[in-house]
């Protein structure tokens, strides 16, 4: 299982690296739209949709929205005079509100879940708010300051990926090597305090490194740190959010597309929260 997992990762990582760094912007938008479409396919199952035609329709609709946006808004107008397009700002703000709502849904689960529990439509709409802002966020970050430095946006994407994955990787390795004190022995026996610390340490290291790399002004270090910490937290929220929907639908893995990893959504669940929130904060305070 672990072997399969690593092989899949080794095939996908170079592809992702290539797409982020070298793909022309328009193609990049389409590739991300395709991934989001696959995510939507899986989300439809998690929403309790069982009819195959409806699932296709849902996935195509989500991907089509992204493609339409790419066609309607040329890549050189996504950022105009240092300002992100206002439609994209609205979409990111909507995502910020959605994740705040999601936080309270998880906090209250299963108290108020009856409102949305039975509604496939409502759960489908939640998918829109999860997936489309992710596309907008990735594209907005990628095109940020593109005319100054075509790789700047790529570095921002790597930064977010770094924060999120460092938390997982740090937690995993420190947990395996030093894990002794169980965090919650009955709920998730694999997690340890040491692992949690490892994740915190690894993410902090990435955030600190980024502060040096981007030469953040001392007066804004504080903001940089808060945004980084928020991204760490919200990525864990993305994880929980997906689990909550999967639990509702009574499934374990979101799909079988990635051998050893489960589905696409299992891999990008943290990112669907981390990217929109990071992009929102970045646009609001750092750009």
């Amino acid at each position: 299982m672990l072997k399969q997992r690593i092989i899949t990762a080794l095939i996908l990582a170079p592809l992702a690296l290539f797409a982020i760094l070298f793909l022309p912007l328009f193609s990049f938008q389409l590739v991300i739209a395709a991934i989001i479409g696959l995510g939507a396919w899986e989300w439809s199952s998690m929403s309790g949709i069982t009819r195959t035609t409806t699932k296709y329709a849902y996935a195509i609709l989500v991907a089509a929205v992204c493609v339409c946006l790419s066609i309607l808004l040329p890549t050189d107008l996504i950022w105009y005079q240092g300002q992100l397009n206002s439609l994209y700002i609205y979409i990111l703000s909507a995502a910020a509100i959605w994740w705040a709502i999601s936080f309270f849904m998880i906090l209250g689960y299963p108290k108020f879940s009856s409102i949305w529990y039975c509604s496939k439509v409502l759960r489908g709409i939640f998918g829109f708010f999860t997936l489309i802002p992710t596309w907008v966020a990735v594209v907005s970050l990628r095109t940020s300051l593109y005319d100054v430095d075509p790789y700047y946006g790529a570095s921002l994407i790597f930064y977010v990926l770094g924060i999120v994955w460092a938390a997982d990787i740090g937690a995993f390795f420190v947990g395996v090597k030093f894990g002794k004190h169980k965090l919650r022995p009955r709920v998730s026996p694999g997690k340890t305090y040491e692992g949690l610390m490892g994740g915190i340490f690894a993410s902090s290291a990435i955030i600190a490194f980024a502060a040096l790399h981007y030469q953040v002004d001392p007066s804004r270090i504080w903001l940089h740190v808060v945004i980084g910490a928020l991204t760490v937290g919200v990525s864990a929220l993305g994880d929980l959010n997906e689990s909550m929907f999967k639990r509702c639908a009574g499934i374990k893995d979101s799909g079988t597309l990635l051998p050893g990893h489960g589905g696409i959504m299992d891999r990008i669940d943290s990112l669907t929260a981390a990217f929109p929130i990071f992009a929102f904060c970045y646009v609001m305070w750092m750009a």
Partner: protein, 450 residues
């Protein structure tokens, strides 16, 4: 080396006291609430000293003196026998849990009041805020405040000494205007001014708030009388002694101490003739000036320090109070320290104060060492300040800290059930990253300032 040991020792003692006080707060209230306390540890890691009382609580002093903890019986952490369940922390009513967690910071504040109370009982000497001069082109040079002014009020608070002034200036960081009141030397007419401080850029690397605004505090002149001679130094070899008044070097009359320092430092290892006044008689001494290397530059060095002329009457006064007054005064001061700490944290968030102002353990250690060598009263004042800070920081609503737990409990109070552990974990991650990075910034600042 000795100074280093002194600093480390003062730091360990200061931190030990504050940690013990803080944890004792948790411990005491936990016991009152009927929670079983398994261990009360000052310091982390390997136990150096251990004792168990009849209720089964282990008291430990451990090797790493950077904190401590109280370990209570808790189902979430380990298996609890059925008969022990009523004594588990997590089984208590949420209000009791709030009391136990809040007790640590609260006891820190009470301890600050106590330390300041003792300080005011013993009494400490402070200096009246008399302005000797105002630097040209500084922010205060635009106001009509003059030399010899005695500052009486900054903002809406009365000030009695330079420490008070410093506090109130700090609290004005990020504001546009500063109201200030002072009396002239005759102590009768009170004048006031509104100073525009919009352009004030306070940078902790470049001196105190007082200096950065252009105020020069009055201090007595340095005399030409030697106060201290370093053993085995050049001055010692020449035969200079405390209370010698330096008249001439190589026949040149010395007007003041700066001139003496200038003369000496430009003549490393040269032969010098010193005329001093000793016991009413002029004595001629001879010998070689020593040398001292500072940042690669060799300078002449004697190894003596001057004495200061006496403070004029009324400049120094002693804060010493009776029991009742000392209590009120201590409570007042603690409250001001608390509000100022909160103000500063707020300004850190809004960006009015740069993260450069954060100080970490090294700065605290230096402060501990310095205040301890100034005497017990200063050390008490320092302990009170750090105790208040520890209390405030611990109340921040960051998971990991006491304030984070309180936040969870307050949510529980409203929602009627504990915050899900998965959500708590998110909180720990965010809080952990924030705290780790802030601590790194603070330690980085400390090292940069060394």
């Amino acid at each position: 080396m000795l100074e280093f040991l002194w600093t480390v020792a003062s730091f360990v003692i200061a931190l030990g006291i504050l940690v013990a006080v803080h944890e004792w707060g948790h411990f005491w209230v936990a016991r009152r609430c009927g929670v079983k306390v398994e261990r009360f540890s000052i310091g982390f890691g390997k136990a150096l000293w251990k004792r168990t009382d009849k209720l089964g609580t282990e008291y430990v002093v451990a090797a790493i003196p950077l904190g401590g903890y109280v370990k209570m019986l808790d189902e979430r952490v380990d298996e609890v026998a059925v008969e022990d369940l009523p004594y588990a922390f997590n089984r208590q009513h949420v209000l009791k849990r709030i009391a136990i967690v809040a007790a640590g910071p609260i006891v820190n504040f009470l301890f600050a009041i106590f330390a300041l109370f003792i300080m005011y009982l013993i009494g400490l000497e402070t200096v009246k805020p008399v302005v000797a001069d105002i630097k040209p082109e500084s922010i205060f040079s635009q106001s009509n405040i003059t030399k010899n002014a005695i500052i009486t009020q900054v903002g809406d608070r009365k000030v009695a000494d330079w420490e008070d002034v410093n506090y109130e200036l700090i609290s004005h960081i990020g504001k546009d205007l500063m109201h200030i009141k002072w009396t002239e030397a005759n102590h009768v007419i009170e004048r006031s001014a509104v100073v525009n401080i919009e352009t004030w850029q306070f940078d902790p690397d470049k001196g105190s708030p007082i200096a950065s605004l252009g105020l020069v505090p009055f201090r007595p002149e340095v005399s030409k009388i030697i106060g201290y001679v370093l053993p085995d130094s050049a001055a010692d070899a020449i035969g200079l002694r405390p209370n010698d008044k330096i008249l001439r070097l190589d026949g040149t009359t010395m007007e003041n101490w700066e001139q003496i320092v200038g003369y000496v430092s430009s003549r490393a290892n040269q032969f010098v003739k010193v005329d001093v006044l000793r016991g009413g008689e002029t004595v001629r001494l001879e010998g070689s000036i020593g040398q001292n290397e500072v940042e690669g530059i060799v300078k002449g060095y004697m190894g003596f320090t001057p004495t200061f002329e006496a403070w004029p009457a009324g400049m120094l006064f002693t804060h010493q109070y009776g029991v009742i007054d000392a209590v009120t005064k201590a409570m007042d001061k603690t409250w001001r320290m608390m509000t100022l700490s909160v103000e500063m944290l707020g300004k850190l968030l809004t960006g009015d104060v740069s993260v450069k102002n954060l100080s970490g353990p090294i700065a605290i250690a230096q402060g501990a060492g310095m205040s301890a060598s100034s005497g017990l009263v200063y050390f008490l004042g320092f302990l009170a300040l750090i105790s208040v800070n520890l209390g405030i920081i611990n109340l921040l609503p960051l998971p990991v800290l006491d304030g984070g737990h309180l936040l969870y409990f307050v949510i529980e109070l409203f929602s009627g059930r504990p915050v899900p552990e998965s959500v708590q974990e998110i909180g720990f991650k965010v809080g952990g990253v924030l705290l780790l990075l802030l601590m790194s910034i603070a330690i980085f600042n400390d090292i940069a300032r060394l």
